[in-house]
């Protein structure tokens, strides 16, 4: 009998190792569990992304440096009412501005009624502010002419 180490024999015996019968079930269960965890994480990530986008839309008009056209429009309106209507109150520029204001107010109302987002509302408030600025300039000029 040889006492030399016989690797062929040793390898044959070591090859006989059988994994436990339930190992595949464990692997399958772990795989399904991991897939569910990843799906939950992906859903949470998507929800976070959606919330970020919504928050961006909500907060963009109030961001530092951005003009709040709605507030500006309201301030101009108050300023306009404080100036008495002068001699030039019915010129073509004023008529055009008033007609534009009516159109924008209608568009704003419709936009609010259908729950429009700020990316649609902000341009309307901006146009309204610009028209109010025009009216204010005309009325200030008219008031000056009346004083003379």
């Amino acid at each position: 009998m040889s006492s030399e180490l016989n690797f062929n024999d040793l390898a044959q015996r070591l090859c006989a190792a059988e994994p436990p019968a339930d190992l595949w079930l464990r692997i399958e269960r772990a795989h399904v569990g991991r897939r569910r965890r990843r799906l939950r994480l992906r859903l949470a990530g998507t929800a976070m992304a959606v919330l970020s986008v919504v928050a961006a839309f909500v907060f963009v008009p109030h961001a530092p440096g951005a003009t709040d056209w709605q507030a500006r429009s309201q301030a101009l309106e108050i300023e306009l009412r404080a100036i008495p209507v002068g001699a030039l109150a019915d010129d073509s520029v004023t008529r055009e501005a008033r007609s534009g204001l009516e159109r924008i107010d209608g568009a704003l109302q419709a936009a609010y009624d259908r729950g429009a987002r700020s990316n649609e509302l902000v341009p309307l408030w901006k146009q309204r502010s610009e028209l109010l600025s025009t009216l204010l300039a005309v009325r200030q000029q008219s008031a000056a002419v009346t004083r003379i």
């Binding site: 009998m1 040889s2 006492s3 030399e4 180490l5 016989n6 690797f7 062929n8 024999d9 040793l10 390898a11 044959q12 015996r13 070591l14 090859c15 190792a17 059988e18 994994p19 436990p20 190992l23 595949w24 464990r26 692997i27 399958e28 772990a30 795989h31 991991r34």
Partner: protein, 190 residues
Amino acid sequence: MNAAQDPGSGFAQDVEAMTLARAQRGDMQAFATLYERFGRPCFSLALRMLGQRQHAEDLVQEVFLKMMDTIRSYRGDAPFGAWLKRLTVNACIDHLRRQRGGSEDNAEAQLAHMAGDSGEAAHMVDAWSLLERLPPRARAVLVLHEFEGYTHSELAALFGQSESYSKSILARALGRLNALVTARPLQQVL
């Protein structure tokens, strides 16, 4: 022994292209088929390298989960069995590194320490106990070189060491095993 001459390792099996394609689409039945074919060789290799059934079971689970995650990147450049074997060997080596912790590998020191206690061979009852008598890294080097056909250059790359390190560990491990079987004839040991 060379891996190419050893179909008994079980990794040298052909896999139908259809099974692979289904597995790449995440089909669980295809994964089950792959496990039926390769679960056993994967477990045997892990057990030879790690020496403990519980560790080998955990490692097979880790390897198959990784295979399921990464099979889409398998392009068929090498046979599937060779690819899975590489995943298994790499996972075993990572396991040994984790076991070792931050300390320097002490396989040589452990082998040197064991040199004098070959008299314990009388207690050896099977092939497993022979391999279990080796330090983890020495066992891994011996299994990969003698049973799986890895060269010293490949072992050096796997373990991040020099070829002379691999040669030295292997020579000491073989010496240790021979000392164990000399104390008792091989047929009685095995």
